[in-house]
């Protein structure tokens, strides 16, 4: 029989995403979520103690009948099942982390509870793109490409215009598109490759270096600029390096001030739970929302494919009619 805690745990199983603040290690985020979940699970009312019948010896206090011992049957609670003896019902739950974020960066971090960890593997193998906001600043270069690192070089940036920046971005995007074609391992001259490219289904097969699928500048106020990047198989270090290389390409230098992930697969910033909402109740709500969203997505997919079939059916019926007329 499932206790309230187990029933609650089943409702918690699945994927959800949190917003990782900058300057915090992802392990700390995971552990905080885990302890909060355990606290929530173990706060549920525990089952009443089972009773067992035991024969209790009662020695009578009278002097003369000191030896007369009566045995009475009594129903006493089994203390070995007491929560203070057995400990809380859940002492460890598995909380898995999706694509990692390093200490310096912030943003959407996908977490999985219980059997959601299996889905996390599926999510990893379906090469979903992730979206980042990169805050860059022209004028300096540092050893680790972030603004906190030791400064290596300073340069001027007056000559940089938005036009020049966008030309560099377009060049980078083109290079990455080419890389994507080579790593997706399809024959370029085949119909298959054409179909996949039209539907945007090209993805690198197996392991590949980081590939950028989209890159644009959304704010340009020299020396500061903001880039929006969609990419695959990336690390945050690579993105910082990207900013550095853009700076070099523009005959200047640039550092990365912040890396913020705004989307991981279909988990967006709207779904992400901030630090104050990492409680069992809020997480349960987020997981339920994820499940319902998944159901809707499946439903809509079946709706899309259904009309196609019916239209094909109609066409077939029409053709048959024509034939019969002839």
């Amino acid at each position: 029989m499932a206790t309230p805690a187990i029933r609650m745990f089943r409702r918690l199983e699945g994927l959800f995403c949190v917003y990782k603040p900058p300057g915090v290690h992802w392990k700390l985020v995971r552990d905080t979520v885990q302890t909060n979940l355990l606290k929530g699970l173990n706060d549920t009312p525990s089952q009443p103690l089972p009773h067992e019948v035991r024969f209790l010896v009662q020695s009578s206090s009278d002097g003369e009948a000191a030896k007369a011992v009566t045995v009475s049957a009594a129903s006493v609670p089994v203390l070995s099942k007491h929560p203070l003896v057995t400990g809380p019902e859940f002492q460890d739950i598995r909380v898995g982390v999706g694509h990692r974020l390093d200490v310096f960066s912030s943003g959407v971090l996908v977490l999985a509870v219980g059997n959601g960890n299996k889905k996390l593997n599926d999510l990893h193998s379906t090469q979903v793109t992730r979206e980042y906001m990169l805050e860059g600043e022209f004028g300096t270069a540092t050893r680790d490409f972030s603004h906190t690192g030791p400064v290596v070089e300073r340069s001027t940036y007056d000559h940089i215009t938005q036009d020049k920046l966008e030309r560099v971005l377009a060049m980078l995007e083109g290079v990455n598109q080419k890389a994507m074609l080579t790593y997706s391992k399809v024959d370029l001259r085949s119909q298959e490759a054409y179909e996949m490219a039209v539907h945007g289904l090209l993805a690198p097969e197996g392991k590949s270096p980081p590939i950028i699928t989209g890159l644009r500048c959304i704010r340009f106020q020299p020396p500061n600029f903001t880039l929006e990047v969609q990419c695959l198989n990336e690390t945050q270090k690579y993105l910082c390096k990207l900013v550095h290389e853009i700076g070099l390409e523009l005959r200047s230098t640039a550092v990365c001030n912040a890396v913020r992930r705004t989307r991981d697969g279909f988990f967006t910033l709207q779904d992400a739970l901030t630090r104050h909402h990492w409680t069992a109740a809020d997480i349960m709500q987020a997981v339920q929302q994820y499940h319902s969203a998944k159901r809707e997505r499946k439903h809509s997919q079946s709706l899309i494919s259904a009309p196609l079939q019916t239209s094909e059916g109609n066409m077939a019926a029409a053709q048959e009619k024509e034939r019969s007329k002839k």
């Binding site: 007369a68 203390l79 203070l84 003896v85 057995t86 913020r260 901030t274 104050h276």
Partner: protein, 420 residues
């Protein structure tokens, strides 16, 4: 034929009885003999059949040693259902006959050991009356070795009383030697007097469980020692209510010798150059100071003076207001002070005025400051208009902070956090 049958029976019985009590070799041979005799009428069928199943058993023995004999046959010989029944019957008879021999043989190991146990009080042959029979205390089957206190709770009076007091045994059993120490205690002679003593000095009933869960060793301390330590604290002009609250908040307090306690009190008075009343106040508010090591405290004090640049009297003031600074994590303190002083540009005298900020969370301060800065309200100078005190910045809960200090909604604050 009879002898081969018996051998086969014997071979098959070894996995069959793997869970049963191991018997001496002599016993086995006797049983074997017994079996051969008992099985003469069914020997041909039984013998044939046993051989067949024995082959399957050999094939599977590698990966299922523990499996019972007739489980194997039931699983792999389902086609011959009728004969299967015979084997089951047979194997059951095997077991039964084994049991019978076990009981019948007078000098088995089991029985000798039983005799030794009982030899102290009663002879097995002596007749006893009903009254005596009732009054014999049958020792409950306490396991001699266990990895958990769970097996002992229902049997041991001490443990069951402790559970009723609210002691979390599952935490205690993880600590080395504590489990066996608790089992050795007797409730009436060891536990009850100490509980009465704790109640006598004014500890509330609800705190007893907490104290013992954290410091089970208070149950092994002698009553005289406990009394002298309480007397010492009282001689230092701690009131009896203070002593009670200190003991209930720092469970290890009464386990330390008077010399050590005196040493600690002297240290705090010297290092902080506080008056006696102030020292008492600081220690009464954070009795943990008397239990822990002094080295981290010294480090924190030096850090406040040298690294942070507080003056001696400022440190004194901070400690008087927030004693927890002394035991706080050094790295976290540095992080908070760095942010307050270098990013928020708060001068030393304001931090001294609101020392509570050093006790709060770094992320909380950071997020709130960034939010106020984004709104253009980050103004921490009391001389200028729209002044926001550090106290209000840190100690207010989120809802009140958003509505009263930042003049925004909680949703806005939440959205802002997602842009950091």
């Amino acid at each position: 034929m009879a002898s081969t049958c018996a051998q086969l029976c014997l071979r098959c019985r070894i996995p069959l009885c793997s869970k049963a009590v191991t018997r001496s070799l002599q016993n086995c041979t006797q049983a074997q003999h017994y079996n051969t005799v008992s099985k003469v009428p069914t020997k041909i069928r039984g013998g044939l059949f046993v051989r067949g199943s024995h082959i399957t058993l050999q094939a599977r023995r590698g990966w299922k040693q523990q499996m019972c004999y007739y489980d194997v046959t039931a699983k792999y010989l389902t086609t011959e259902a009728q004969e299967n029944k015979f084997t089951n019957e047979l194997s059951r008879r095997d077991v039964a006959s084994l049991m019978a021999t076990g009981d019948a043989v007078p000098l088995t190991e089991n029985q000798t050991s039983l005799d030794l146990d009982a030899a102290g009080e009663f002879s097995a042959l002596e007749e006893i009356s009903d009254e005596e029979a009732v009054s014999i205390f049958v020792s409950s089957d306490i396991p001699p070795v266990s990895i958990s206190l769970r097996d002992y709770v229902d049997k041991s009076e001490t443990l069951s009383k402790l559970v009723q007091l609210g002691v979390s045994l599952w935490k205690l059993e993880k600590r080395a030697n504590v489990g066996s120490m608790l089992l050795r205690l007797d409730f009436n002679t060891d536990v009850a007097p100490r509980l009465m003593f704790l109640k006598g000095i004014g500890v509330e009933d609800s705190r007893l469980g907490y104290i013992i869960s954290h410091n089970p060793f208070i149950l092994t301390e002698t009553l005289e020692n406990l009394q002298t330590r309480v007397n010492y604290l009282k001689s230092k002009k701690f009131s009896s209510e203070t002593v009670a609250s200190m003991v209930s908040r720092a469970p290890y307090l009464l386990n330390f010798s008077v010399k050590r306690l005196d040493n600690r009190l002297g240290f705090y008075q010297d290092q902080l150059s506080l008056s006696a009343a102030n020292t008492r106040n600081v220690v009464a508010r954070l009795p943990r100071l008397l239990c822990g090591s002094l080295e981290p405290v010294k480090e924190n004090l030096k850090m406040c003076e040298i690294e942070f640049g507080f003056k001696k009297n400022e440190v004194q003031h901070i400690v008087k207001a927030v004693p927890k600074v002394l035991t706080a994590n050094k790295r976290k303190l540095i992080q908070i002070f760095d942010f307050l002083h270098n990013t928020m540009k708060v001068p030393h005298y304001l931090i001294t005025k609101f020392p509570q900020v050093l006790n709060s969370k770094y992320l909380r301060i950071k997020e709130r400051h960034m939010f106020l800065e984004y709104l253009g309200k980050a103004q921490y100078d009391p001389a200028l208009p729209n002044y926001i005190s550090l106290d209000r910045l840190v100690s207010l809960p989120d809802e009140i902070f958003c509505t009263e200090v930042a003049l925004a909604t909680v949703e806005d604050f939440c959205l802002f956090q997602k842009t950091l």
